[in-house]
């Protein structure tokens, strides 16, 4: 199993996708810091305690990038027909999907940590220029920072898991990407207004993701959100694996 995970990570490291994503994330991180720093009217003035909010800025974007990574990693095998070779090497298809379910969250978490590091460096630089020096020894700073880190890691890992699951189920790369977008932007909104009850709406996947990243208006706890999202990811992955194992590769 470990060698299959390593093979998946090697696949990722030997194409340009992940490097492009990392570059884009770093650029976005710098932009977001700048936008937050310039601030909006009425926002509290910058202080050392603004630092965690700066670092947390790219979390939502990272969740999206992780989802994209997971989808491309699984559906890309079908798109480029590399799945034939992959299944020739490892005829036990369930193990291939399992390896992806391990490798892609790992890669997404690495991407998240790298992006957070860049964001933190840019934010620290910005604050330093204003004469503000955040200290990690300050518990009022360290604790929120820890939360930010945990949220980003969980969001990236779980979204990558969902991405792999969706793509295993759908197989077609474009259909998987469009499907996820339509689900998040259209279907969930419709369901929300049809259900007209936050008590039901909070169980939807993106509500779970929102709760996980502790966004305002979330109705679940952070842990609840994480568990719910993990449940969705697992259900998708199990259903996707069952299909992948049975379908003919022609």
């Amino acid at each position: 199993m470990i060698r299959l995970v390593r093979a998946e990570l090697t696949k990722l490291a030997t194409t340009r996708l992940v490097y492009g994503l990392a570059t884009a994330m770093a650029a976005f991180a710098a932009l977001i810091v700048a936008a937050t720093a310039i601030g909006v009217e009425g926002a509290p003035p910058l202080s050392a305690y603004s630092f965690p909010a700066f670092v947390a800025a790219p979390t939502k974007l990272l969740a999206g990038a992780a989802l994209l990574l997971g989808i491309l990693g699984m559906a890309g095998e079908f798109r480029h027909q590399t799945v034939t070779q992959t299944f020739l090497v490892t005829p036990d298809r369930g193990r291939v999907v399992a390896a992806k379910l391990v490798a892609y969250p790992l890669a997404a978490i690495a991407l998240a940590l790298a992006t957070l590091a860049v964001t933190a460096a840019v934010a620290a630089g910005w604050l330093a220029a204003k004469g503000i020096g955040p200290s990690l020894l300050d518990a009022r700073l360290a604790l929120p920072l820890g939360h930010v880190l945990l949220e980003a890691v969980l969001a990236a890992g779980l979204c990558a898991l969902v991405g792999v699951g969706v793509a295993a189920l759908v197989r077609n790369q474009v259909a998987a990407l469009v499907g996820v977008l339509v689900w998040v932007l259209v279907v969930e909104g419709l369901l929300m207004s049809l259900l007209n009850a936050p008590s039901l709406g909070k169980w939807l996947p993106s509500a779970a993701a929102a709760a996980l990243t502790n966004q305002p208006g979330a109705h679940l706890s952070r842990l609840g959100g994480a568990l719910l999202l993990a449940g969705y990811a697992l259900a998708l992955a199990v259903a996707g694996t069952r299909l992948v194992v049975r379908r003919d590769i022609t």
């Binding site: 060698r3 299959l4 390593r6 093979a7 070779q85 005829p91 590769i249």
Partner: protein
């Protein structure tokens, strides 16, 4: 001993029966040509043999087991399927290293097989820029990675230039000499005729014949081509001796199942002028065509 055993193999895609109750065996150390026109079910059969497509009925086994149950598939079986199954953005060397990693093979096998197929120069180039012939070579390199004793190749000569086809023949012969068992599909008999020991011919998903190449060659006819201004007279003369001769052009006859000596004597005895005479063999390809167009006829 049979290394590959296909038994009652059947695959239906909806209303279409792609492979229909197909059975044959491939013995250890033999090179077998798997022949049939396009759409005969060759690729579907090979994909079932490799565990990629699930049969509707019957079984396909390698070393007595379905592919999906092999202990170490990469070291036991090498396969080349369609030429396009590479990520275009990955280099040839990295493609092989990914597979070596997944199969638990040493990474330097990648360089060894690249050298074996003559792709060392292009090792670090991205596969997206490869020609069809280079992709076929990379496909072969992939198949050879685990140094397997069984090779399954689907139309490996597609896209190769004449020099590439020549090289492929040499490689297959060399592998066969090392004791490899090879099942190689093709829609052109001539492509594999110089390499294979046996042929399995299918048409419309059914077995037409499995025989040695020698037995197939024996089915070709001995022909005698005669050019004479008295073609009709000679034709009648030969017919009287029980030899069938058909006109082929204005002043030519093509006589089957006879020899130049017999035709020459008959013509001399009757005082017929002969301009030209030559022995010919009907083409192996003609036999193949004849077999595959009479679909489902077993012999």
């Amino acid at each position: 001993m049979a290394v590959i055993t296909i038994q009652g193999l059947t695959k239906r895609f909806g209303p279409v029966t792609a492979v229909d109750d197909l059975s044959f065996e491939v013995d250890q150390g033999t090179v077998v040509g798997f022949l049939g026109p396009n759409g005969a079910g060759k690729t579907t059969t090979l994909r079932m043999l490799l565990g990629l497509v699930t049969p509707t009925a019957g079984s396909a086994r390698i070393d007595g087991r379905p592919y999906r149950e092999l202990a170490d598939p990469v070291r036991q079986v090498g396969a080349v399927l369609e030429a396009s199954s590479f990520h275009p953005g990955r280099s040839a060397r990295n493609h092989l290293r990914v597979i070596a990693t997944a199969a638990g093979l040493p990474l330097d096998r990648a360089d060894a097989v690249l050298d074996q197929v003559g792709l060392t120069q292009a090792a670090r180039r991205r596969v997206g820029g490869f020609s069809l012939g280079m992709r076929q070579r990379l496909g072969l390199a992939t198949a050879l990675l685990g140094d397997p004793a069984v090779l399954i190749l689907d139309e490996p000569a597609n896209g190769l230039d004449p020099e590439g086809v020549h090289w492929l023949r040499g490689l297959l012969r060399q592998l066969a000499d090392q004791g490899c068992t090879v099942l190689v599909s093709s829609h052109v008999l001539a492509e594999v005729a110089q390499t294979v020991d046996q042929v399995v011919i299918i048409a419309a998903g059914r077995l037409v014949t499995q025989s040695t190449l020698a037995a197939l060659t024996a089915r070709t006819d001995q022909l005698v081509r005669v050019r004479t201004p008295q073609a009709e007279t000679l034709q009648a003369l030969l017919a009287a001796q029980g030899i069938q001769a058909d006109p082929d052009g204005a002043d030519q006859l093509l006589a089957a199942g006879t020899t130049t000596e017999a035709v020459g004597r008959a013509a001399a005895a009757a005082g017929i002028v002969i301009y030209e005479m030559a022995a010919e063999r009907s083409n192996l390809e003609d036999v193949f065509l004849q077999l595959t167009t009479h679909q489902g006829v077993r012999s």
